[in-house]
Symmetry: C2
Subunit: 314 residues, 2 copies
C-alpha cells in the first residue's frame, strides 16, 4: 500500500508527483528544467521530492534519452550533459530511497499500460507523436527495453528508404514524416517554394514561435491544403511503421499519444488504423489502435510504476 514518487524530466519542465498503488496521482510539484547540467537537474529533483506532502517509499524517473541500468547518456534535450551520468545511483544516494530510471517514451508507455489505454494488453506498442516520434513496448506481459536499454526508437524505423531527410541525419525514417519538427521544416520549404498555406499566419495569430499541435489542429480544421498533405504523409508513415511492427511482433494493442495525437483526437486512431490495414500481414479482430488516456500524467504514472517494481524486486 506504499506511495511512490513518479518523476518526469523533460527538456522544459521537471514534474514530480505522489502516485498510489492504484496508480492515482496525488500531490504534485513542477519546476523549470535547469540548463546547467546534471548536478543542477538532480538537485531540483531532490528538492521537488522533499516538497511532497508524504515521504514516498521509492522513486521512479523518466529521462529524455537513452538509459542503460540507471545511466543516462547524451539526452538530446537536456543541456550541458556531455558525459553519461549514473542518475539512478546518484539520486538514490541523495534521497536515501530506491530509485529506478527509464527512458521517457518507455516510461510513458508503462503508464498507459498500468493505468491508461494499454490496460490488459500483454503485447503493446506505444507511439508518441510530438516534436519527434517516440515509442515503447510491452512484450509478453513485461516492459521491454532491449539489450542495452536502447529499444523503442519506433520513430527511426525506415519506411521510405532514401526518402525525406530527418532531423536525426538519416533518410526515410518515420519521424522524417511524422514528427512535428520535421513537419515544420517541410512546411517552411513548401511555403518558401510558393505553396500557399495559412499555417504560419495561424502560428502568428496564436502568438507561437513554432507550429505547435494546436496550430496544426486549426489549419487542418480549416482544410489548409499544405497542412492536410503533410498530415496525411505523417499518418501514412506512422501507420506503415505500425504495420511493420505488427508483422514483426504480433502486438495486439497500439496506443497513440503525444501532443499531436491529443490535439487530433479519435479521428487519428481511425485514420492510422485505415492506413495501416493494407500493410498488415496477418489480420486479427482482437487488435486495436487506440488513443492514449493519461495525457501529461503518463510519464509520472509510468515512472512511479517503474519505481514500485524496482522496490518490490529488491
Amino acid at each position: 500500500m506504499a506511495t511512490v514518487a513518479g518523476v518526469d524530466i523533460g527538456g522544459t519542465n521537471i514534474s514530480v508527483a505522489l502516485v498510489d498503488d492504484e496508480h492515482q496521482v496525488g500531490d504534485r510539484h513542477k519546476r523549470s528544467t535547469p540548463t546547467d547540467g546534471p548536478d543542477a537537474v538532480l538537485e531540483v529533483v531532490a528538492e521537488l521530492l522533499g516538497e511532497l506532502d508524504e515521504e514516498p517509499a521509492a522513486v521512479g524517473v523518466g529521462m529524455p534519452g537513452p538509459v542503460d541500468d540507471g545511466v543516462v547518456s547524451h539526452p538530446p534535450n537536456l543541456q550541458n550533459w556531455p558525459e553519461p551520468v549514473d542518475v539512478g545511483g546518484r539520486l538514490s544516494e541523495a534521497v536515501a530511497m530506491p530509485v529506478a530510471v527509464g527512458n521517457d517514451a518507455n516510461v510513458g508507455v508503462l503508464g498507459e499500460w498500468v493505468a491508461g489505454a494499454g490496460r490488459g494488453s500483454k503485447f503493446l506498442l506505444g507511439v508518441w507523436m510530438g516534436t519527434g516520434v517516440g515509442g515503447g513496448l510491452v512484450l509478453d506481459g513485461r516492459p521491454y527495453t532491449g539489450s542495452v536499454g536502447g529499444a523503442g526508437e519506433f520513430g527511426h524505423m525506415i519506411v521510405h528508404a532514401g526518402g525525406a531527410q530527418c532531423g536525426c541525419g538519416r533518410r526515410g525514417c518515420i519521424e522524417a514524416y511524422g514528427g512535428r519538427a520535421n513537419m515544420e521544416r517541410a512546411a517552411e520549404r513548401a511555403a518558401a517554394g510558393g505553396f500557399p498555406t495559412t499555417l504560419f499566419e495561424i502560428r502568428d495569430d496564436k502568438g507561437k514561435d513554432r507550429l505547435t499541435s494546436s496550430v496544426w489542429d486549426r489549419a487542418l480544421d480549416q482544410g489548409d491544403k499544405l497542412a492536410v498533405r503533410l498530415f496525411n504523409e505523417a499518418v501514412e508513415a506512422v501507420a506503415i511503421g505500425i504495420a511493420s511492427v505488427i508483422n514483426l511482433l504480433d502486438v495486439d494493442r497500439i496506443v497513440l499519444g503525444g501532443g499531436l495525437a491529443e490535439k487530433l483526437g479519435d479521428d487519428l486512431a481511425e485514420q492510422v488504423e485505415e492506413a495501416a490495414r493494407p500493410h498488415v500481414f496477418l489480420p486479427s479482430a482482437k487488435r486495436q489502435i487506440v488513443l492514449a488516456e493519461l495525457e501529461d500524467d503518463a510519464g509520472m504514472v509510468g515512472a512511479a510504476a517503474l519505481g514500485r517494481a524496482a522496490m518490490l524486486l529488491g
Copy 2:
C-alpha cells in the same frame, strides 16, 4: 538426459531426427511431404517417429505456416490444408507423448539460439533468406512468438512504401526485394525488357527450372550485371529491415540463414552489416551480424528444443 525428436515439416520433405540434450543430432529419417492434406502429413510424421532407433521422451515440430497454441492455419506450401488443424493435439494423441508445435522460421531461430550462431545472445533476430524472407526472435532470453503466434514476419516489414510488388500482394516489403521468388520475377521482367543476363543460361546449364541459390551464386561470381543489381537491392532491403529492428528492439545479434545466405557465405554478413550501419540509431560495439551455423539441421534442432521445453514445463 532425455532424447527428444525434432520434426521439420517443409513443402517438399518431412525430416525427423533424435536430438540429445546437448542438441546433437542422432538417428534421422526423411520422406517426401504428402500433398493430400493434414491426415496424410500427420501419418507420415507418426511413421517417421516410429522408425527412430530410440523412443523419444517428447516431440517438437516446425510447421511452414502460422501456429497458435499448436493449431496450424493455412500453411502456404502444404497442399489441401483448407482449415486450421490442431497439429499438437492430434499428433500427441497419435504418438502418446508430449508434442509442441512452432512456426518453422521461429523454430529455426530457436535451433541457432540453442546450438548455433545465436548461442549466448538474449536479444536475437534470425533472418532466413530463401524463396521468401522469414524471421524469428529471441527477446529478453525467451523465444518470442507474439499475441497469437504470428510474430516473426520480418520479410513483410515495409522498407520502401509503395515500392516493388511482393508475392504477398503488398508493395515495398523486404521480401519484395530479398526473397528468391520475387528476385526471379524481377530478373524475368528485366530480361524480357532486354537487360542482358546469364542467369537463365546458368539455370539451364545446371538443369534447374528455377533460379536457385546456386544459380545466383554462379552469376554473381561471374559478375553478371543484372544478378549483381538485384542482389544489391536484396542486401539493401534486408539491411534496412535489420536496422529498423535494431532501432525498435535493440537486439545484440542478428543471424542470417537460409539457402541464399548459405550459398553466399561470409561476404553476405559483412555486406549486410555495411548496408545497415548508416540506418542504425544507436550504434553498439557489442552488436553482431553473423551467418547461421546449423544449415538444414536448424529446424530439427530447434523443434527438438521446443519439444524439450514443453516437456520440462509439463
